[in-house]
């Protein structure tokens, strides 16, 4: 399972929440920079393996205690790739080829972690890393707008979502807004996922919250601070309590958002507008 966005940006939180509510087990999570959603999946017992380049909420909160707890005890395997290498694994799959050549990871110990093979350029003989294509069974993505045919548009930085969508077998998308096909055709240059690559689409305003969505709402850093303070005090139990409160208890996404409250959401919207100068 691949999760779109990156770290606390455009994380498909509504989809991750639903996945947790369905009490899935035995999953492998592939995400380049893994944030709170990775901790949720670990504590809920949903993931056995995380394929990533980095995992933490962000520098100010230091090394993830949840990561340390689960990986150092051997309960979750952390398969580490460089950021680019993992990006190229999605891109190889998106392009429909079994590998892509790259210079990155050469000479480092990372190359052995995922079993990356090297090869010789058939023209010059130069050594290259051949990163293997990663075809996720399912991709979870969150976008700014989409039409009823599944054509999706993203504002701001695109992260790797287009590659992930093309790479995955089944693609589930939540969107901040559903627009008419006319609107898609008015700005075709903004479309990053074509409808034929999308399997299911759900309207989910604030669908990444408390993570950010470019131009729409900033990540709720205060919420992260509160969350990490609880972990500092009580360890994984704090995350289990958090899941009870935010994931299992509220029956709908609307009920979930109510836990944050309209004022908080409006504040994060205002901050986002300020930052993008809109």
């Amino acid at each position: 399972m691949a999760v779109g966005g990156c770290l606390f940006s455009r994380t498909p939180m509504a989809l991750v929440r639903e996945l947790l509510r369905q009490r899935r087990r035995g999953l492998t999570l592939a995400r380049n920079l893994t944030c709170t959603e990775g901790e949720f999946l670990m504590v809920a017992g949903a993931v056995e393996r995380i394929v990533t380049a980095w995992m933490s909420i962000g520098l100010p909160w230091g090394v993830s205690k949840i990561l340390r707890h689960f990986v150092e005890s051997g309960r979750v395997a952390l398969e580490e790739w460089s950021h680019l290498a993992l990006g190229l694994r999605f891109r190889a799959a998106a392009m429909g080829v079994p590998f892509l050549p790259t210079l990155t990871m050469l000479g480092s110990d990372l190359i052995a972690v995922g079993g990356t093979k090297t090869l010789q350029d058939p023209y010059t003989g130069a050594t290259l890393a051949a990163v293997p294509a990663l075809f996720p069974d399912v991709a979870l993505l969150h976008v700014h707008r989409a039409d009823r045919f599944g054509n999706c548009q993203i504002d701001g930085y695109p992260h790797m979502d287009a590659d992930i969508a093309q790479a995955a077998t089944t693609v589930l998308v939540t969107t901040e807004e559903i627009v008419s096909e006319e609107e898609t055709r008015r700005h075709p240059e903004r479309t990053v996922l074509p409808g034929f690559a999308v399997d299911a689409l759900v309207l989910a305003p604030f669908g990444a919250f408390p993570h950010e969505c470019y131009g729409l709402y900033e990540a709720d850093f205060d919420h992260f601070a509160e969350y990490t303070r609880a972990i500092d005090a009580r360890g994984p139990t704090a995350v289990a309590d958090y899941l009870e409160r935010y994931v299992y208890a509220p029956p709908t996404w609307g009920d979930y958002l109510d836990l944050f409250g309209g004022e908080r959401l409006a504040l994060q919207q205002r901050r986002a507008r300020e930052l993008v100068g809109a």
């Binding site: 966005g5 990156c6 770290l7 460089s82 950021h83 050469l106």
Partner: protein
């Protein structure tokens, strides 16, 4: 003046105008923003969130490479993979980043402490883009607090390759260019002996002795023929720096 302030000011001076720098968040990005605000107005920042040419707003320092604060007033938003590919193609002059553990050949570990990757004593956050920056930029400058536990004889795990074993092994591994040229620390500036690729003391900060640098380093350092003393941060430099981080999120 805090140690982080000293580090940021000295690191900023390493950047030249009209170049491109791939900067990690924290002190490296702060130093790059300082360089831009002072002597290098045409310095182009590249941030691994797929962001090119942003202008970091005072008081709005990003804490991640993938957020609106990092993308503010960017000139281009090519996506993460393509941002790194600019480096692989040779467009990025300097990689500018920190590191948890560093060895005498400049190799960095941000993955695991302990000798068994799959059963680590301490699991660190991981490479993020550090391996890519270290592998693909034309030159890499490390910015780090100078602590004995960080400067180790041999890193437990080579997350980000510098000169590997110092014997041409970087080139032999297939990395066509780049390598760590400088390590800017809270005590001084270190380079690498061009032959052995061993870390070398090149400058100390005012009031710091070579002996102190050695005492805070877990391996034997080469010493340059002439060890310079860095100019102390000026009032103007500190003022510009403090304006960037008024909440002192990274300045301590």
């Amino acid at each position: 003046m805090t140690a982080a302030e000293l580090l940021a000011v000295v690191a900023a001076r390493e950047l030249r105008d009209d170049t491109t720098v791939f900067a990690g968040v924290g002190v490296p990005l702060l130093a790059a923003a300082l360089a831009r605000a002072r002597h290098a107005p045409r310095l182009t920042l590249v941030i691994e969130g797929g962001i090119i040419g942003p202008e970091i707003a005072p008081g709005r320092l990003p804490i991640s490479t993938n957020e609106m604060r990092a993308g503010r007033r960017a000139t281009m938003l090519p996506g993460i993979t393509d941002a790194f590919l600019f480096a692989q193609r040779g467009f990025v002059d300097v990689g500018f980043m920190g590191g948890a553990q560093i060895d005498r050949y400049g190799n960095i570990n941000t993955s695991v402490l302990g000798t068994d990757y799959w059963n680590p004593k301490v699991r660190l956050p991981g490479t993020g883009g550090a391996n890519d920056i270290a592998s693909l930029c034309r030159e890499v400058i490390i910015v780090t607090p100078h602590e004995r536990r960080r400067f180790v004889e041999r890193v437990d795990f080579v997350t980000s390759p510098a000169w590997l074993r110092g014997d041409g092994s970087r080139r032999a591994a297939g990395l066509l260019f780049g390598g760590v040229s400088r390590v800017v620390t809270t005590l001084g500036i270190l380079g690498f002996d061009p032959d052995s690729r061993r870390m070398r003391i090149e400058a100390v900060h005012p009031g710091v002795s070579v002996a102190t640098v050695r005492a805070h380093t877990g391996f034997e350092l080469v010493e340059a023929a002439h060890v310079a003393v860095t100019a102390p941060p000026s009032e103007e430099e500190l003022e510009a720096l403090r304006a960037l981080d008024p909440e002192r999120r990274f300045l301590g």
